[in-house]
Subunit: 278 residues, 2 copies
């Protein structure tokens, strides 16, 4: 692959979670991959400062940190804990040198059936978090998750809902993360991407393909680029027409892919990106 083909490519760490952070950094350098999206748990396990140094020394751009959020609790103690945890995530993002923290908003609290109330509590939490994030130079990117996660993971199911939440704040503080896996089915999403672009709120763009049958629990069924139903080039077109010029992150969760050699999978993913999304 030419360097130009991968100029905007970023590999989300979860795609190749079988690689340690040093293995990931080395493989990215070897393959000419310029960016990585990181996750808090493996970063904490390796060490925050150590990870930041590893990425700097390898010349890698940390395109996003995944993830903050889970802001839907009703219980007062749980709400305080969530705010504190998100402040910590913002600090970690700043240390890692990324400008974007991805937020997965959280599902319904146990026993609750009130999606609207849960979305309201996210708005309240953002009012506390957005100014703090701005003070650390971090943008929050609200990621709508596929409606199949609405009860247990993310009550924000569409880009329209993400933007409704984000637009209470300056675009430098709160925007959205567009992930093809979560929005590909939504005929309103292209117009919402345009809305996000006009508002300067397209803060992250992630690719994954949609494949079936979905596995039990549906979390780890994301398909390699080109293996499923998503017209990835078309979605890249939507964000670019909306003015997006940032990194394009590939984020796959898939047990079969995780069972393979990590370097080989990373190489395949970079090739698939160049073939399917460029």
């Amino acid at each position: 692959m030419s360097e130009a083909a991968l100029a905007r490519f970023s590999i989300n760490q979860m795609t190749v979670k079988q690689l340690s952070l040093p293995e990931l950094a080395t493989a990215c350098v070897d393959l000419g991959i310029p960016g990585v999206g990181l996750w808090r748990e493996p970063v904490q396990a390796y060490g925050l400062e150590a990870t930041a140094k590893l990425m700097r020394d390898a010349g890698l751009t940390v395109t996003t940190l995944c993830r903050g959020g889970f802001l839907t609790a009703i219980d007062a103690h749980a709400r305080v804990a969530a705010i504190d945890d998100n402040r910590a995530a913002i600090d970690e993002a700043a240390t890692l040198g990324t400008d974007t923290l991805v937020l997965v908003s959280g599902g319904l609290p146990p026993g609750s059936k009130d999606l609207h109330g849960a979305r309201s509590r996210i708005a309240e939490a953002l009012a506390e978090l957005a100014p703090y994030a701005a003070s650390r130079g971090i943008r929050l990117a609200i990621e709508p998750l596929h409606p199949m996660f609405a009860s247990d993971r993310c009550v924000v199911s569409t880009l329209a809902q993400s933007l409704d939440l984000a637009e209470d704040f300056p675009p430098s503080q709160v925007g959205v993360c567009v992930d093809t896996y979560h929005v590909w089915w939504d005929d309103q999403a292209p117009a919402q991407i345009a809305r996000a672009g006009q508002g300067g709120r397209l803060h992250a763009f992630q690719l994954a393909d949609w494949i079936t049958p979905l596995p039990e629990g549906v979390l780890n069924g994301r398909g390699q680029l080109g293996s499923g139903s998503v017209d990835l080039r078309q979605w890249r077109g939507y964000v670019e027409e909306a003015g997006y010029t940032g990194p394009i992150e590939v984020e796959l969760f898939n047990e079969e892919l995780w069972a393979r050699d990590g370097r080989e999978l990373l190489s395949e993913t970079a090739r698939s990106y160049a073939t399917e999304a460029c």
Copy 2:
């Protein structure tokens, strides 16, 4: 339970598929259940005329026939076959004495990534089917399926899309089926229910609860009423505010429920309906 509590209740046959049609009819009479939703395959297996007689003799109302649809094929032969099959489904519905055929529109054809094109082909097929259905006294009810089925089962994922398709035809010919399992996550659905009611297009209303974790393949994970995240009484309120006065059908697909005694499950389902949705 009082007879009044079950006055609008209908049991979809798939909920208790362990019961034969005669067992189902007897159990409904014993429990005071006035309506049943039927499926084509078990009806064909028992015999169409025999089923119609069985339901008539038991005094049961056939509230819907499930299902027509699967109208997204590109191949010309497959398209002709789908139209013919839907004409047969319309004839069967008429013989069974129901006024409503539920349509599940179909997924993406193999290799296609074109959701918009698939939706266009549904519109073309409806133009052939709607007048025929009207001539037999049957209304077509387009059912949006949850977006997790968009690729392999139904490219119509929202009530808005269903209504966009339906409104090309008179409301006496084409309307929608609102199933709480498929639309509960959608903050636009209440407004779309109002739109459907204003247009006289609320042709069927089905209840199921949303539970997680979803099983592999996600088809048979519907929850018993009250076991999950859906505020069923609120959704019943939405359709009634929109003028719906018709039957309320409970349709569960769930391996654990199917493993139980069918009569006991039917009795539990009727009780859950009275408790959770009335």
